[in-house]
Symmetry: C2
Subunit: 437 residues, 2 copies
């Protein structure tokens, strides 16, 4: 078994086209899936718990008399935590603590107390910041069930001050993932229901007799879940619809090639559509990494996924220098950007677009995935150009505050009336003028 | 002509149902419009400028040889500003200045410089904040062309540091709105194209030979524009899809009823679907406002729109006391909440969900619409439960920073490996273990 990762040279005239092609990823919006999700949502909206029970029986082969039977008690969550090996429990605790500390820091830094200021005439302007009342957390069942995702979604919500986090996780054939339940206990999830799919999204978005309506739904899911989230957006908030995971490594050629090869693997093993790209000015180094990839592959339990991912979506890119590497990194706007180089901060200063930047050769992406502290839910598919890691700010919202004094109303009233007449909105003008002396 | 606004009493057993019914607004997602928007987008993606020119000819009856002919020069924008009457120009300047000052304050308060902190072992964690590179601003042509919206969308983008703001505004039959162009000049818009509809959204989202691809599209539009924005979401960022505008007034019965009636009108005159609701513990006061509504209606140039809006979607609600008024206000989560009462701050402290709060009897919504400073783009249709006014934060994004020291990699590597093995991701584990000594 051997992998041929495609190689590009940025000096080649076709390079911009080649790069665009390798990055191209069109989220398949399957019409059949979309229609099916819509029908499920309508059914849930109409029939509530009854419909949820039906779909859970049909899709997950779990039969229950009532929704109450599908709720996992806090005692059961705690038991899952207590049954972990000491090593695993300690690791989960370190991860949870570090994620909490980072997000508490973030909360303090983003003006979570809001602000007000008072003008000379006594007018007060400002902004109030409040947490959401209730958040739904979708956790996939089956192969993509990651306890780390529970921590990364639930802890920022709790740090933001969300009083109630409701988790849903399907348990196909009744099989529960104990590590996921342990993570829910550790991160303070308030209630857990063993439901999934578009039906769980609908239950959270509309509420049922048993499941309370939430204000926002976060967390990853399959194509039905994604389609359902798109559909309920507006009724509730949603996080980004994530594409395949990506890593971009820009390396000056001084890091052990085996380390970089393994970093590329760590992304590629997620998913056949995952993308791993390495950029380096040193062509000989790219060859060393390619050699290491092939040497290390055999040892990897997930070598089939890795092979498909690296063959179809991987790339090794030779560039002129590290400055050009940064330019290309800004174009790619990767979810994960490793800057594996001698003076990583200098290069990081040149990066405008990335979900997370991993600076220096010791900052492997995997440390960030689990326990460094920053969130591992990051913008994919070039959306880092306009969006941010999941954070405390996703569980808060702002309200503007305007307390216009009688004096302020004299100045502002004339301005507002002038502009309102200009827009043909006479009641607006009159409403302002009534406050004039 | 007389208006019968429906009256509710919160003590009536049917009240929760009545309230839900009056609030119910299902954004009509017309399949035909959606399909048509999709076809236009595909055409723009495939044929670029040529397709934009075709649609502009077909829908706006504007014929041009080239896209360049549809660009408005900075000189023309400046000329529009120079031609305003001194009164209107001064009013626009006050509004622009106050919006800028408020959003500069906001920028300082929301951690726009990011943060980093260093742990004992030298590991650095943090977050970098950067403005978007390029933003598209959609401005409707025709009846809903509001220069104030140009200020409210463009100024926060510029305060955030967005280098390039590209405005699109259709000019049906070639008619330009000079006040809109003047507002563009005043708020520092970089380029303006006279195109609109789904074709303008497509041009901004995908880029054409003439129109540069943007990272986010903001601004209101008709159903085709909204459908197109939903479709391009992911390729670019979008702001919220706005529903009809709403005002909720909670009043203790001490404000001049004519003022409150006019405040209700100022919302109702926007649109037949707009919603105006008044809540008060004093039934006699509600009657006085109802009387004032009917007395003042005849004077209103937009009385037909007002009548339809208040009849179909307005409500007067008698409550037990102002505390209950606040509870209901939290349920409604109104776009605009006026707290017209003696001690408005005490009541505001009880409000968790509102787009903007207008405190005290001098704070009419119209002052906020034009010139108080806070943004007038606000969450509608109960989305204030989970979303915020448009702000500087909508034109910034964050990147996580992780610089793990060699010492940090020893601690974190073991934790990450333990959890990665738990999730069956061996390359993740190996990648962390390589950094162990």
């Amino acid at each position: 078994m051997s992998i041929q990762i495609r190689k590009f040279d940025s000096s080649h005239p076709d390079f911009p086209k080649q790069l665009s092609e390798v990055l191209a990823f069109e989220a398949s919006e399957d019409e059949a899936i979309d229609r099916s999700a819509m029908q499920i949502l309508e059914h849930i909206k109409r029939e509530g718990d009854k419909a949820v029970l039906e779909y859970t029986k049909r899709f997950d082969h779990v039969e229950a008399d009532s929704m109450a039977a599908l709720e996992i008690s806090q005692a059961e969550l705690q038991a899952a935590l207590d049954q972990l090996t000491p090593e695993r429990r300690a690791a989960l605790q370190v991860a949870a603590d570090r994620v909490r500390i980072y997000h508490e820091r973030q909360k303090n830094e983003i003006g979570s107390n809001g602000f007000t200021y008072t003008e000379a005439d006594g007018t007060i302007l400002g902004q109030k910041v409040t947490p959401l009342d209730r958040v739904g957390l979708y956790v996939p069942g089956g192969k993509a069930a990651y306890p780390s995702s529970v921590l990364m979604n639930a802890i920022p919500a709790k740090v933001a001050g969300v009083p109630e986090v409701i988790m849903v996780v399907p348990t196909p054939n009744g099989v529960k993932n104990e590590l996921v339940l342990a993570a829910a206990a550790m991160s303070g999830v308030d209630r857990v229901f063993t439901i999934g799919g578009a039906q769980a999204v609908g239950a959270l978005a509309y509420g049922t007799a048993t499941i309370p309506q939430v204000d926002k739904i976060v967390g990853p899911g399959n194509a039905y879940v994604a389609a359902a989230k798109r559909r309920v957006f507006g009724t509730v908030g949603i996080d980004m619809i994530a594409g395949p995971s990506e890593i971009l490594v820009i390396c000056d050629g001084t890091t052990n090639p085996d380390w970089i090869a393994m970093d590329l693997f760590s992304q590629a093993e997620h998913d056949e559509l995952a993308q791993s790209i390495l950029i380096c000015p040193d062509e000989a180094y790219l060859d060393k990494v390619a050699e290491s990839v092939n040497r290390q592959l055999a040892d990897m339990p997930r070598k089939d996924v890795i092979t498909t991912s690296l063959t179809n979506r991987g790339a090794l890119i030779k560039v002129r220098d590290m400055d050009e590497a940064c330019e290309i990194a800004n174009f790619i706007a990767a979810e994960h950007l490793e800057i594996s180089a001698e003076n990583p901060q200098q290069l990081a200063d040149k990066i405008r677009h990335a979900g997370a930047m991993f600076l220096g050769r010791f900052s492997s992406e995997s440390l960030g995935d689990y326990c460094a502290g920053p969130n591992h839910v990051l913008p994919t598919s070039r959306t880092a150009r306009f969006s941010s890691p999941l954070g405390v700010y996703d569980f808060q919202k702002r309200s503007s505050i305007l307390q216009v004094s009688e004096g302020g109303a004299q100045t502002l009233g004339k301005v507002a009336a002038e502009l309102a007449y200009g827009e043909g909105l006479q009641a607006h003008a009159r409403s302002a003028e009534y406050r004039l002396k």
